[in-house]
């Protein structure tokens, strides 16, 4: 029964299942490194999911879908940026508002798009390479977004650790007052980071509706955005660990789906709880070690910046 699960297919589908969370978590990582806590990831993801879906269906091009999704995610995050950076609203409350609004808004514009199949996203075909046993399905037969997300991990890592702009971004996240005193534009840098986070969350959402599912249903992100937030904490704000975290959760999701399909004698509902319970468990393990958890957290995370104060 359990033997019917193919480990190679499991790994290949794990990568697909993880990509939406990975994209969203990478975006949020940059946002939090700039000292901003955006709890609206879920809202931006689902808005990206529907925006990408509509654009892909209407134009027939999945690529246009992903572009539209990134734009929609960024547009929604712009609301968050305006509220928290110029009007100095509470970041926790604003992020929640973003999620609540995003879920309602996506359901609103998504009417009439349920039950449609989006245009298929082409997969990489490297001929003999893709046909290799074991390595082929795992490495060379995915759709482009999987490779984009992996490239983004490297890019974000290099940007934060090796580039001057990344250093400035981290400075803003550690102490906005010091960064301001040095003449850096705290608000501008943070807005750019928030927009980047929104675009990434939008891409992640579109990956769900265009590749992973692929369909549009209301509330289809089902907490993926919140899991992405948890992964950033889990990864102690390091891009490489975000990758590990996302693949771990993708693995759990795929495994429980496979167990459901294999007909294990546990009711479906209990298996479906697994990704959420594992998220909690991992959060506990990570945060229990106070010294390590606090070490990497941006010091100014979630604090509003006002130049006069």
């Amino acid at each position: 029964m359990i033997g019917s699960i193919d480990p190679i297919l499991l790994i290949a589908s794990l990568m697909v299942a993880s990509t939406p969370i990975l994209l969203a978590a990478l975006g949020e990582l940059v946002v939090e490194k700039a000292g901003v806590l955006n709890l609206g990831v879920e809202g931006m993801m689902i808005t990206g999911a529907i925006a990408g879906f509509i654009a892909a269906v209407e134009t027939g091009s999945p690529f246009a879908g992903f572009v539209a999704a990134a734009a929609a995610g960024a547009a929604l995050s712009l609301i968050f940026a305006l509220l928290t950076q110029f009007l100095l609203s509470n970041q926790v409350a604003t992020g929640l508002a973003l999620t609540l609004f995003g879920i309602g808004f996506s359901a609103l514009i998504g009417q009439g798009y349920t039950g449609i199949r989006p245009p298929a996203t082409p997969r990489l075909d490297l001929g003999p390479l893709s046909d290799l046993p074991v390595i082929g399905p795992i490495l060379f037969r995915h759709d482009p977004m999987v490779y984009v997300s992996l490239a983004l991990v490297v890019a974000v890592g290099l940007f934060l650790r090796r580039s001057r702009a990344g250093l400035i971004l981290r400075a803003v996240g550690e102490s906005h007052d010091a960064a301001h005193a040095l003449g850096y534009k705290v608000v501008r840098i943070r807005i750019l980071a928030i927009l980047f986070g929104g675009a990434c969350a939008g891409l992640g959402g579109a990956y769900l509706s265009l590749v992973r599912v692929p369909q549009w249903t209301e509330g289809m992100t089902a907490g993926a955005g919140w899991i992405a937030l948890a992964i950033v904490v889990f990864a102690s704000w390091r891009p490489g660990r975000v990758l590990a975290g996302a693949y771990l959760f993708g693995g759990v999701t795929v495994l429980q789906l496979n167990l459901q399909a294999a007909g294990v004698a546990i009711p479906v509902q209990y298996l479906s709880m697994a990704p959420y319970l594992i998220t909690i468990l991992v959060l506990v393990v990570i945060s229990a070690d106070r010294s390590r958890a606090a070490l990497n957290a941006p010091a100014a995370l979630g604090k509003s910046f006002h130049a006069s104060s």
């Binding site: 305006l82 609540l100 609004f101 309602g104 808004f105 209990y270 959420y276 909690i280 506990v284």
Partner: protein, 360 residues
């Protein structure tokens, strides 16, 4: 160029005025949104805000006001205590579901009991269910420093699956021909939470909500615990020196809000909803967050905000029928309300000044 100048203390006038401004702004922006959807904007707004109270079908929809406002107020009161102390319980929806499950389980286990004590016993079980569910993030926060926002939210999804498992398994109606869902409490008089005064929508959950408003007011204005909650939120360091234990406060805030959300769930399942089903959870736990903020975390403000939000629910349903407005529109509308509220809050905390020349 406009410049913001921090006020020494938040302006009382603006604190009270911002919710009103936010509602007006939401009406305007909502009207624009509806116009974009090809619906007559003025009529849509009137259908949502005016018709449920004074329109053609008002005699039907007016009692619904209390039915919808009850759970919202009950949950929002609990949340507001935590929000004041910077304890972010986002998972009220999960606690609401667990309250309904626990309470319903007690009632169904006693089936077909006929005792006046049954409903109170179920209410206690419901409060316990919500309390215990909220204690998970509380204990993880106080013992392992785990973020309560993420844990309480993850538990919402777990609770939803529990609800689904219960309606297919443990609590399924044995006489339900195999359909998912529990026995209907409307056919179980001892456990039924019906209208207390016919035609008003008043049921025990609404009574509990009013009691919670008064209780929270007394707690915040007269009791040491309420004082500690306020200090911990406004000046955490001062609170530490005053001997307020952050761990205890976190547990108390999460515990109270969990118990109240659980109560709301129990009164909903035994009354308006009638049974445990897969789609029992209707998002009250999330809307209550908006209610808490809209009510300025003030008990009487929450009472008004809860009634207003209930109005948008009923008006939204009415607009669905009359104008064919999509159900989700009202959710977007409520989210928008919170945006405007947070945006206008700047007026309470800052003074707008016209800055001339060089910036400070």
């Amino acid at each position: 160029m406009l410049r913001l100048e921090r006020r020494p203390t938040p302006s009382r006038l603006w604190t009270a005025a911002t919710p009103v401004l936010a509602v007006i702004a939401t009406m305007i922006a909502g009207g624009l949104l509806f116009a974009l959807l090809g619906k007559p904007p003025v009529e849509a707004i009137r259908t949502i805000f005016w018709d449920p109270l004074f329109g053609q079908y008002a005699s039907y929809s007016r009692p619904q006001l209390l039915v919808k406002a009850g759970p919202l107020i009950l949950i929002a009161i609990g949340l507001s205590l935590g929000f004041r102390a910077q304890v972010w319980n986002i998972g009220a929806e999960g606690q609401y579901i667990m309250g309904a499950l626990f309470g319903a389980a007690v009632g169904l286990a006693a089936y077909p009991a006929d005792s006046v004590l049954l409903l109170p016993a179920m209410a206690v079980a419901g409060a316990c269910g919500g309390f215990l569910w909220a204690m998970i993030p509380a204990i993880l926060k106080t013992r392992f420093n785990t973020n309560e926002i993420l844990v309480s939210l993850m538990l919402v999804y777990v609770a939803q699956h529990m609800m689904s498992a219960a309606s297919f398994g443990l609590l399924r109606n044995p006489e339900g021909m195999g359909f998912p869902g529990s026995r209907n409490f409307q056919q179980y008089p001892a456990a039924f939470n019906g209208e207390l005064i016919p035609g008003t929508g008043m049921h025990w959950g609404v009574v509990a909500a009013f009691c919670a408003v008064i209780g929270a007011y007394v707690l915040l204005s007269r009791h040491i615990l309420g004082f500690q909650i306020r200090v911990a939120g406004e000046a955490p360091r001062a609170a530490r020196f005053a001997g307020v234990s952050p761990a205890l406060l976190t547990s108390v805030c999460l515990g109270i809000s969990g118990a109240l959300a659980g109560l709301a769930g129990l009164f909903e399942v035994t009354g308006p909803a009638g049974q445990i089903t897969t789609d029992f959870a209707s998002g009250y736990g999330f809307t209550a967050i908006i209610v808490a903020f809209l009510g300025r975390l003030n008990p009487f403000g929450i009472l008004l905000a809860g009634l207003l939000m209930a109005l948008t629910y009923i008006g939204g349903e009415l607009a669905q029928l009359m104008l064919n407005l999509p159900a989700a529109a009202i959710q977007a509308f409520q989210g928008m309300l919170l945006f405007f509220l947070l945006a206008f809050d700047v007026l309470a905390n800052f003074r707008l000044r016209l800055a001339k020349g060089a910036r400070a």
